[in-house]
Assembly symmetry: C2
Homo-oligomer: 242 residues x 2
């Protein structure tokens, strides 16, 4: 394999914990908060895929808001601005995974970047809020091509932005579908397997968080396996020899 000159991170779920909206969701929506958190994230991704397929791109802010409004209506909660505004605002200040800063610092002799579905304004706010802007060579939004991952056009943004060849890129994601898309494009790929693969349900009585984990927590059967499987971001430096 080629030496790795650039590490490109997915944002939502990889550097930033999308589950960190759940506290506010519970605060605002009570007993339905957990259900709303999981349904919202599922719909958000579905809408990115469906809009790319339908060729009716809207930016990630719009898609995320649409998914939130769908979700609230589905569970019988009126999608008022009093609920939607603070939940959307929380999306601009998601928690960084606890080990992220240490990992980015250990990798600082390579080009580091984000490639994300997020719209430029969302990513700017997120990176600023987390205090990692100075550590990143670029923050690349798929908005430049008006398609969402895993469309190959998204991954193709990396090479010109970072001035590297695609086989010199290590792409890092915790999302199985993103791993498959990046690998199919031709990057080297590391999958951050955050869930516990040994944890399996005993029967059909699983709640929304567990159901979400079953849908999203495993490697996808899409014909493209990651080069590396790790448990956390700080497992990356030894892989690239730093």
């Amino acid at each position: 394999m080629s030496p790795i000159r650039a590490l490109v991170f997915d944002a939502y779920g990889t550097l930033f914990d999308v589950q960190s909206v759940s506290g506010l969701a519970r605060e605002l929506c009570g007993d339905k908060g957990e259900l709303i958190t999981q349904l919202w994230r599922l719909k958000q991704l579905e809408y990115t895929w469906l809009r790319t397929l339908m060729k009716t791109y809207e930016d990630f802010h719009t898609v995320t808001r649409d998914a939130l409004e769908f979700t609230l209506s589905a569970v019988g909660v009126t999608p008022s601005p009093a609920l939607c505004d603070p939940l959307m605002q929380r999306y601009l200040h998601l928690d960084l995974y606890p080990e992220a800063l240490q990992a980015l610092d250990a990798l600082r002799d390579r080009k580091l970047a984000i490639l994300s579905n997020g719209s430029p304004d969302m990513l700017t706010a997120l990176v600023r809020s987390a205090g990692i802007a100075a550590r990143l060579h670029d923050v690349i939004s798929v908005d430049r091509v008006r398609q969402y991952k895993p469309d190959p056009a998204c991954y193709a943004l990396v090479e010109p932005a970072l001035q590297v060849r695609r086989d010199e890129v290590l792409f890092i994601s915790s999302n199985g579908w993103d791993v498959a898309g990046a690998k199919r494009y031709g990057f080297q790929v590391a999958w951050i397997e955050r869930g516990d693969p040994a944890a399996v349900p005993q029967n059909s009585a699983v709640g929304p968080a567990e159901f979400f984990r079953l849908i999203r927590g495993r490697a996808e059967q899409l014909g493209h396996e990651p080069d590396f499987r790790v448990r956390r971001l700080t497992d990356l430096p030894p892989l690239v020899g730093t």
Copy 2:
């Protein structure tokens, strides 16, 4: 609106009940049967969308099998042929919704067809098993364009196949994302709303069947509304004046 010369039906979930695998799933997988049924269907659709986006089409038989193997592994069941073969076989003999025959008969003065993600062999088996082949002018598989709905290329198969203009087509689906895709393409569209929109959960403690219904049972917020919302297939004849 133009007079409707052709009615084109989605297959899975619209004419045929995909939930009819659940009996066999419970028989073969016990307490995990219900969970497997819902997760399988979600993954199956995800894989159609993701493979179309990644430009790595495989036919619906392969995608359905991959989704089943993913699902069984996720819930801690070995995806052996002894389980997968009969479940896949059941997919070739899904139950027709009880009112489907009566609806097709009442509409027989129009061109009737299916436009489905199903591979040609799956659709042939399904239509034969249900005894509706003679009632259909054509059974159109997206396999002809090697992309899945809601990519516009799929809906574009209808006009040459049936020799009608797109605004003379009434497309019928119970799948909200399919409704949005067909409407965006330019068909008249009827949404079969099989769930009860008034049924909302009381809290986050919902099982997989309810979670599935929340994800799939409502109109999607994708910027395209159906022309007609009906509860069952036999509501269609009055809409088109037969």
